[in-house]
Symmetry: C2
Subunit: 253 residues, 2 copies
């Protein structure tokens, strides 16, 4: 693992990542959501010189499980998936990240998961070593990061409940509801829910096969719970029944 350059999942070494001198943190729309929110103007000014804006295209690998964890990233736009692999290729997507999330923090010197963009994405890169210094200097930053990590851990526990104890129908319904709630939090109020990830990605997130995901969504469509204009969009037509389905309180009709 990890013989290819980062930000390259093809095996050839073509850097699509643009390391551009961005407009600076003042104009970053993600300041409230990312770990930067733990900083005031003065602190941010001090650190902004270390932050490098990064742009990647869809399907590019941001970081690879096992690689040296030299940087952490804040996602300012686009969508990213995190996953772990078994030796024979079986995959578990542990989470989908959207604007405001951050990734790359680990408990040792290597990344515990692989991160891959599922749409073109913008990120801010920050040297891990400097972050640790910054935490000593600005206690609020550590507090902020701790809060974010606790939030992620709570989500992870929810996902364990889903993976270990929910049926396929409950899994798909729960996933769609969670995506929808996340979209609302990010200000995406729309009856049309974006599904930037593939059916394979959804399956690998829910511990199912693509066939079961497809069949379940078709079933929701037949029941009038979901509208599926195309594979990358879903319209929640009946949130009450979708919630009932997520809680196993209904019969597939």
């Amino acid at each position: 693992m990890a013989e290819m350059a980062p930000f390259d999942h093809t095996g050839t070494t073509r850097w699509k990542a643009a390391v551009a001198a961005g407009p600076g943190c003042d104009h970053c729309g993600s300041r409230r959501l990312n770990f930067c929110a733990g900083l005031d103007e003065r602190e941010l000014a001090r650190l902004s010189g270390l932050i490098v804006p990064i742009t990647v295209s869809g399907h590019q690998t941001l970081l690879r499980e096992g690689d040296a964890a030299d940087y952490i990233y804040a996602l300012t736009g686009g969508a990213v998936k995190l996953y772990k692999l078994l030796a024979d290729g079986r995959r578990q997507i542990t989470g989908f990240l959207f604007e405001g999330a951050f990734l790359g923090l680990t408990h040792n010197t290597s990344y515990p998961y692989t991160a891959e963009a599922i749409t073109p994405a913008n990120l801010c890169r920050f040297p891990r070593k400097r972050l640790e210094d910054a935490m000593d200097e600005f206690p609020r930053l550590g507090r902020r990061l701790l809060g974010l990590m606790v939030g992620e851990l709570v989500s992870a526990h929810d996902q364990m409940l889903l993976l270990g104890r929910k049926t396929a129908r409950e899994k798909v319904a729960s996933f769609l509801i969670g995506l929808s709630q996340g979209a609302v939090l990010r200000g995406r109020v729309s009856d049309s829910l974006a599904l930037p990830m593939s059916r394979t990605d959804i399956a690998d997130h829910l511990g199912l096969t693509i066939e079961t995901v497809s069949r379940t969504m078709t079933q929701f469509k037949r029941e009038g719970i979901l509208g599926i204009p195309d594979a990358s969009r879903a319209n929640i037509l009946d949130m009450d029944r979708l919630t009932a389905a997520a809680e196993g309180e209904d019969q597939p009709g």
Copy 2:
């Protein structure tokens, strides 16, 4: 939920928890493992007055999902399970905790899981509010807690991989290996692995039924991989083949 007193899972209100004036942190054998490790003598002296030692018997509930998260706890002895429930009673045990772990940290004002002792246990209770003050005062404490949370998140990702993508045989083998490694880390070097949790607990941790857990362990016993003197102990007789089983590289013989 949460109409019963904490530390009571029976419904009757009998407090078995002893709030004793302990011997103080100086003599605590868990100082290296718990969040206290982030503190030096001076800092610890400052905080020790806020720490209340707690003792509970087996099967007592320490805290309940949804209850006000007023305290965090460091586990100094014994074993604890964390779990979440679905409305119909299906349960997912998200983790087993042993000496050196801590619990109770949350992202909002209520606990995200229920915690129940599986053996008699000793804990140190700390007011959550004071902890937040202490983090501002002693940045190293925040760093320490952040590191612990990141470690837990990494474990959670491993568990998601297990729940979503491993077979029953791989799940049970992985669980036993993980327990064994944890025991080694805590200095319990023994060929006899303690299984303080019930088969139901193991099943609810692995996303299986008790019957499948029992059958799988019997199978390992028949294959000579495991010795099972009684239901609460397991002797790993062939770690190589157990590892192979955990990675799906073998046939149940």
